[in-house]
């Protein structure tokens, strides 16, 4: 396993447009690519329901183009590779997501995404677009200490926000209630990610970060930002033991809690490895008397061919369990 220097692309400057065209052609029964370069639902949500939109840098597929569809997002505004789209494009996305009951702009907490959303909201207000709100989402416990949760960045655990908020907004005409649900899910979610091996930037062809052959890193962001632990390669069980404990302590998750669990593939992990890792997670949760409502293993947000995974827990109550189990139909999540 190593960063992949061979890639099947055409011109680097056409990566985004060619990816979107191919994606929309394959899933034309679910999504449509607009002239402005937005991914929208083929069949728009009915009038009077809150619209959900998110802008993000591309290169993390299935996130977020694969998450547009029934029970999920109304609109995705894909930016250049690893780069947030500009505010003008996000504003187009806000307009496209408007079905008469307001629009919630979801922001995965990163500097570029936040500044872009703030600027787009100011422009929306100047244009007289009413009922547009923003919710800032974060989950990664390695990026700021407990007590300063608002400084943490958005990583793999936002999976739970998209799934459950998407289900809620499918039937809700109340923008404030949607925002409150998003914050409730966020405030019950904690995550930590790790990398076994680096990857290359598809535009430059250069390594995204460096990692010694026999070392791993725990606490990586979705762009391979450096994290909190660098050390020798460990076994699957040892790796989970090191990662799960700080997650449990941070919220904290306690006996009798019920949780959904995500193991997200950062790129080139095998389902075999992830299933082995999941087994250890399940074992520890059982030992701690924490009940598992649902687990999910797979690729939600990737960083190209990076080897590594993200572990996330979301504490659920009856409302969130119902939202988690509600139908969803995106091209790459259902």
């Amino acid at each position: 396993m190593a960063a992949r220097f061979k890639r099947l692309i055409n011109q680097p400057e056409n990566i985004l447009s060619e990816m979107l065209e191919g994606f929309a052609a394959a899933y034309s029964h679910i999504v449509r690519l607009t002239d402005e370069g937005l991914i929208v639902r083929r069949q728009p949500k009915e009038e009077g329901k809150v619209g959900l939109v998110i802008g993000n840098g591309s290169g993390h597929e299935p996130a977020m183009i694969g998450w547009v569809g029934e029970g999920l997002f109304d609109v995705n505004v894909p930016g250049p590779i690893f780069t947030a789209p500009g505010p003008a494009k996000l504003l187009q996305g806000i307009r496209a997501a408007d079905h008469g009951a307001g629009v919630l702009v979801c922001v995965s907490h990163h500097a570029g995404d936040l500044m872009t959303a703030e600027a787009a909201l100011m422009d929306a207000e100047e244009e007289g677009l009413e009922n547009v709100e923003m919710v800032v989402l974060y989950d990664d416990i390695s990026s700021a200490p407990k007590g300063r949760e608002g400084e943490r960045r958005g990583t793999v655990g936002l999976f739970f926000v998209w799934k459950m908020l998407g289900a809620f907004a499918e039937t809700s005409g109340d923008l404030a209630a949607c925002k409150a649900v998003a914050e409730k899910i966020r405030d019950n979610t904690r995550s930590l990610s790790m990398a076994l091996d680096t990857c290359t930037n598809p535009i430059t062809g250069e390594l995204m970060f460096e990692l010694a052959q026999d070392e791993i890193e725990i606490g990586t962001g979705v762009h391979g930002e450096a994290g909190m632990y660098q050390g020798k390669l460990l076994s699957a069980d040892e790796t989970i033991d090191l990662m799960l404990q700080p997650i449990l302590e941070d919220l904290p998750f306690t006996r009798e809690d019920e949780v959904c669990v995500l193991l997200n593939n950062a790129g080139s992990m095998t389902l075999m490895e992830l299933s082995i890792l999941y087994g250890r997670v399940s074992e520890i949760l059982n030992e701690n008397g924490i009940r598992q409502y649902r687990g999910w293993i797979g690729s939600y947000a990737t960083t190209q061919e990076m080897a590594g995974f993200g572990l996330s827990l979301c504490r659920v109550d009856e409302q969130l369990k119902a939202l988690y189990s509600a139908p969803a139909n995106g091209a790459w999540f259902r």
Binding site: F82, G221, A226
Partner: protein, 225 residues
């Protein structure tokens, strides 16, 4: 003011056409350095700063060249909007905010005097700090911009002309960019490196310094006159 002083004063002003040429000079300087800037970014970010900045400025420069009867404010605003929207990302937003902040401060002025430019740079710095929520010492482009603005104002107050004042601003920006090597990042992706961001020069600050040196160089060699 005697006749000669008036001529000097007029020659010192920068009108819309001068600004179109300055933006092009800035683009050329960043494009020439884009690989090195990306390599700096790879130490603490995702290694695409130079490529993105060069692409953003190339688009911005071609947009300002299409403006008819441009004023300084039009050129600066078009550049800022283009960086925000065509380039995107945190860098697009903060460098866009720099040019938009400049534009806001010089509305309705057809040709900028050295005093106008001093006010413009102060306003742009304030705007970047507000929009980007950054301060000197955070290891960002502000660490090149803030000392450049101070140096420029000191130079003007000491009676220096536009070119010399910009020269000292460019020197201060370069020194400011170098000083980021000793800083721990407090914002952006590099923040998550903590102490490990020490020892690396900030790519954004380096680009900011490059913009100032391109500006003064094109005045020196008359290419933006």
């Amino acid at each position: 003011m005697n006749e000669r002083a008036i001529i000097v004063e007029e020659k010192e002003q920068l009108n819309g056409s001068n600004w179109v040429a300055i933006i092009r000079a800035m683009e050329a300087a960043v494009t020439a350095q884009k690989e090195d800037l990306s390599r700096l970014d790879a130490k603490v970010g995702d290694g695409d700063h130079g490529i993105n900045m060069a692409a953003g400025l190339t688009k911005a420069a071609s947009k300002v060249e299409q403006l008819s009867q441009p004023t300084p404010s039009m050129v600066l605003k078009t550049t800022g909007s283009s960086l925000m929207n065509d380039m995107g990302g945190a860098s697009g937003m903060v460098f866009g905010a720099f040019f938009r902040g400049c534009a806001n401060a010089v509305k309705d002025i057809k040709a900028l005097t050295r005093q106008d430019i001093g006010q413009m740079l102060s306003a742009a710095l304030a705007y970047v700090e507000k929009r980007g929520k950054v301060q000197p010492g955070d290891k960002t482009m502000v660490d090149a911009l803030a000392p450049a603005v101070s140096a420029y104002k000191d130079a003007i107050n000491n009676g220096l002309g536009l070119q010399d004042a910009l020269g000292s601003a460019a020197d201060a920006a370069k020194a400011g960019a170098l000083s980021t090597v000793e800083m721990v990042a407090k914002v952006g992706r590099a923040k998550f490196l903590g102490e490990r961001s020490l020892g690396h020069q900030d790519a954004g600050a380096t680009t900011m310094a490059l913009l100032f040196s391109a500006w003064v160089n094109c005045l020196d060699d008359q290419s933006c006159r």
